[in-house]
């Protein structure tokens, strides 16, 4: 029992030191918005609950709105709304205005840089493409059915197989491919980095041994890894017939792994090595075995730092992925950008801009998800 409480205290402490700058700024902001205890009523209770959740997932902008709806001090909330929503929206508008004004000034050989309107146009055309392709897909399967029926008519014993659609991947499909690839790479990185980090943290000797390797490989660009990964994957991944994974997928995922391994590894090692000596002593007193020490004491108390590492890793992984996909020709967003650059048509720049925003927004969302997990594990039972 005492171990558990100690752990919780430890968790709280870690939160202070480990959360990244942005999240601690947000928690301060959230603290400033804390409801006045004296006005507590039902609505406020609900709003506190909602706001706790919003804060957890990092959407602190909505907190004043929820409070306003709950009827808390309207004047103050309106001021807050202006501050947390009004200012960013205004900044966004200024940015879009500058973009619109500046884009028309720069003439490339592909025409002017597309402004916001052109990019919106391309977004719609990509969506239209998607639906058109879907229709073609339906037609493809219909044709196949007819052909298969004919084949059966001719020879009732013929083996009938339904082939997958052979058309191009549409934009939403390419987004899914990218997400799946980064997830696979990130998962592999975590599976390698966390155990390795734990060992590093527990054994100073092992840490000293592996540290130079980490320091050398950490700053290597994905573009340098890629040719090596390509050759190794080609050499090792030899399958006859239909492969489960395409090589381009494996190459991209492994490159993501190699580049996103390090933040998790380092943070885990730091987290484990900075566990309170008292806790380790407790484990000695209780004569816990190695496995129990790791699972009951080491892992729980270093979770916040591990999640900080994971969050950084996923960010790195997503960035690396686009470059890896371009070169490995994995049919995701990276390849989309590359193909459009190669096409050099009058819509290409607009489409690339759409991809830029997509990449940014998805990266932002991934970061939010990781932040939520990180906070969840840092606060323990904050919910």
């Amino acid at each position: 029992m005492s171990v558990n409480t100690a752990l919780k205290d430890k968790n709280m402490e870690n939160t202070e030191t480990t959360n990244s700058a942005s999240s601690s700024a947000q928690s301060q902001e959230a603290a400033a918005n804390s409801p006045d205890k004296k006005t507590a009523n039902e609505g406020v209770k609900i709003s506190v609950k909602i706001n706790n959740f919003l804060e957890l997932i990092g959407f602190t902008w909505f907190i004043p709105i929820v409070k306003l709806l709950a009827g808390e001090n309207p004047a103050e909330q309106l001021k807050d709304i202006l501050k947390v929503i009004g200012v960013p929206v205004l900044a966004m508008l200024i940015f879009v205005g500058f973009w619109d004004w500046g884009a028309a000034k720069i003439q490339t050989s592909l025409g002017a840089i597309p402004g916001p309107a052109a990019v919106w146009q391309e977004t719609k055309s990509l969506a239209a493409d998607h639906y058109k392709e879907k229709e073609k897909e339906v037609a493809f399967y219909k044709r196949q059915e007819v052909r298969n029926a004919k084949k059966l008519e001719k020879n009732p014993d013929a083996v009938i197989k339904i082939r997958n659609y052979t058309g191009k991947a549409t934009y939403p499909q390419q987004i899914m491919t990218s997400l799946w690839t980064v997830f696979a790479g990130f998962l592999l990185a975590s599976v390698i980095a966390i155990p390795l980090g734990v060992i590093c943290g527990l054994s100073p000797a092992f840490n000293a041994a592996i540290n130079p390797i980490i320091q050398i490989f950490k700053p290597v660009s994905p573009l340098a890894w890629l040719p090596i990964v390509t050759l190794i994957v080609s050499a090792l991944y030899v399958v006859e017939g239909d492969a489960t994974f395409s090589k381009s997928f494996l190459v991209s995922a492994v490159t993501v792994t190699l580049c996103s391994l390090w933040p998790t590894l380092i943070n885990t090692a730091v987290g484990v090595s900075t566990i309170d000596k008292d806790l380790m002593n407790v484990s000695k007193v209780l004569q816990l075995g190695w496995w129990k020490t790791v699972t009951k004491i080491v892992l729980p108390s270093s979770l916040p730092l591990i999640f900080t590492g994971l969050r950084l890793s996923l960010g790195v992984g997503w960035m690396v992925l686009i470059a890896a996909e371009m070169l490995a020709q994995n049919p995701g967003l990276g390849k989309f950008v590359w193909d459009e650059f190669q096409n050099g048509s009058s819509q290409s720049l607009g489409k690339i801009m759409v991809a830029v925003f997509t990449i940014g927004i998805i990266g932002f969302m991934l970061d939010r998800i990781m932040l939520t997990l990180q906070k969840y594990f840092s606060y323990g039972d904050a919910m």
């Binding site: 493409d129 082939r163 052979t166 020709q329 190669q342 096409n343 050099g344 048509s345």
Partner: protein
């Protein structure tokens, strides 16, 4: 694991052996009687690679017009980053086949670059390339070019007009850089041919130096086709030789001027081929034949009724998953015209030929021309006998497979008898339409090499 692998190899070897036998039986049967049963496809889900160039059209058309599906093939067509990636992926089996430079199967077979056995049974098109120079170089060249009555430059433009410019760069100690798409590409040989015909040395390859810039007046280097215009724009190169739409793109963007098309360098020269690995072809003979059938029909469609289908083809090609350039850019060269200097649009009905003049037949003599150029510029470092040229050509170019596919199409009534050169020995009649008026007879490669003043011949070797 190991055991599994072994049995696997055994099974595969068995398969290869069987299909060899089957192939043998098929050719024998073909000789005796024309009506043999259509074999089952060994593989019906295929993936083909291409580079974003208009001459990939037969692949796009065969897909979009359903010719592949008519043969029971479910094909995915995928653009590749560059020619090396494309070749490597065909070799390691990720791609079943690809739109290839004619020199690639030959280069791979003789071991220049990656060594692998690649064959081709289908020639994809004739002509389709051009040489473009930057605006600055063009304005320097222009005074050296004779003009017609209307004040327009007289075509074809010889590289002699470029020579003073290159000489000036040389005397100032500045390298004169030009781009081509691949060491064994048609473009490399065409650019070299044009330069050498105008007295500009394009440089040799040697055993140890494969940059191809030994003794060069103009330094040639590799740039992937779609990046040509932007590389020219960046000033890294002063000119390039590439396929369409990347010359017309330069005109549209106003960054360069096409000076000469390959039709003018060598009338109706063979261009891309459809390449597959020899192992794949051996394992999937019926599939290979079905693919060739679909491609022949696509080529026929492209040239049918005096190019009536070209606008539709351009529309297909301008989709982002194929070539993806703007309709107007692609249409400029695909619909029987070619725009040189901006506004100087001329008729060039044979700039893109997909079917006429037996364009799809894989002639041994085409292969031999490429091999002579490899020898001329030192990619083949030592003297080879005429017999060697013939042997390599017959190993790589496979008209037997082509004719088997064509025969089936004839029986199905999809092509007519005069479309195919049924009785040819695989060598075109001596070809005379070169820019330097040297004629080429595929039967005598070494005698052909002797005719050039610039280039290796006989026992020459680069030191």
């Amino acid at each position: 694991m190991k055991k599994n692998r072994k049995t696997f190899i055994k099974q595969n070897m068995g398969g290869v052996f069987k299909s060899c036998l089957a192939g043998l039986a098929l050719t024998m049967a073909g000789g005796l009687t024309s009506a043999h049963a259509v074999g089952e496809l060994e593989k019906d889900e295929l993936k083909f690679g291409f580079i974003k160039l208009t001459d990939m059209a037969p692949l796009a058309v065969a897909y979009e017009k359903g010719f592949f599906e008519d043969e029971g093939l479910y094909v995915t067509i995928e653009p590749q980053a560059n020619w090396k990636v494309l070749l490597d992926r065909v070799i390691d089996g990720e791609l079943d086949g690809a739109h290839m430079l004619a020199g690639q199967p030959l280069g791979a077979t003789i071991g220049f670059g990656t060594k692998a056995d690649i064959i081709t049974a289908f020639s994809m098109d004739l002509n389709g390339n051009a040489i473009t120079v930057s605006n600055d170089i063009w304005s320097e060249m222009k005074p050296n070019i004779p003009k017609d009555a209307a004040g327009k430059p007289v075509h074809p433009i010889s590289a002699t007009a470029l020579k003073p410019v290159v000489d000036r760069y040389k005397s100032e100690g500045k390298p004169f850089n030009m781009g081509m798409v691949f060491p064994v590409s048609t473009h490399n040989y065409e650019l070299r041919y044009w330069l050498a015909a105008g007295g500009i040395h394009p440089g040799y390859y040697s055993k140890t130096d494969i940059t191809g810039q030994i003794d060069a007046d103009a330094l040639l280097s590799v740039t992937p086709p779609p990046q040509m215009p932007s590389t020219l724009e960046a000033g890294t190169i002063y000119g390039y030789c590439v396929g369409e739409p990347w010359n017309q793109q330069a005109v549209f963007k106003g960054i360069g001027v096409p000076v000469v098309t390959d039709y003018e360098i060598w009338k109706n020269n063979p261009e891309k081929v459809f390449g597959v690995s020899a192992a794949w072809a051996e394992k999937n003979p019926n599939t290979h034949k079905a693919v060739i059938k679909a491609l022949i029909r696509a080529a026929q469609w492209l040239d049918a009724n005096n190019d009536a289908n070209r606008p539709e083809a351009v529309k297909i090609l301008s989709q982002s998953e194929y070539v993806g350039a703007d309709y107007d850019v692609i249409a400029n060269s695909m619909t029987g015209t070619f725009e040189y200097e901006k506004g100087d649009k001329r008729d060039l009905p044979d700039f893109n030929v997909f079917y006429r003049y037996f364009a799809t037949y894989p002639y041994y003599s085409d292969a031999i021309w490429y091999l002579t150029q490899m020898r001329r510029w030192g990619q083949i470092t030592e003297e080879k006998s005429d017999q060697w040229f013939h042997d390599i050509a017959k190993k790589v170019y496979r008209p037997d497979i082509y004719l088997a596919a064509a025969k089936e199409l004839l029986e199905e009534g999809k092509i007519s008898k005069e479309d195919m050169p049924w009785d040819t020995d695989g060598y075109r009649a001596p070809q005379t339409h070169f820019i330097d008026n040297i004629s080429f007879d595929g039967h005598t490669p070494n005698a052909y090499l002797d005719k050039f003043s610039i280039g290796l011949k006989g026992k020459d070797a680069v030191k």
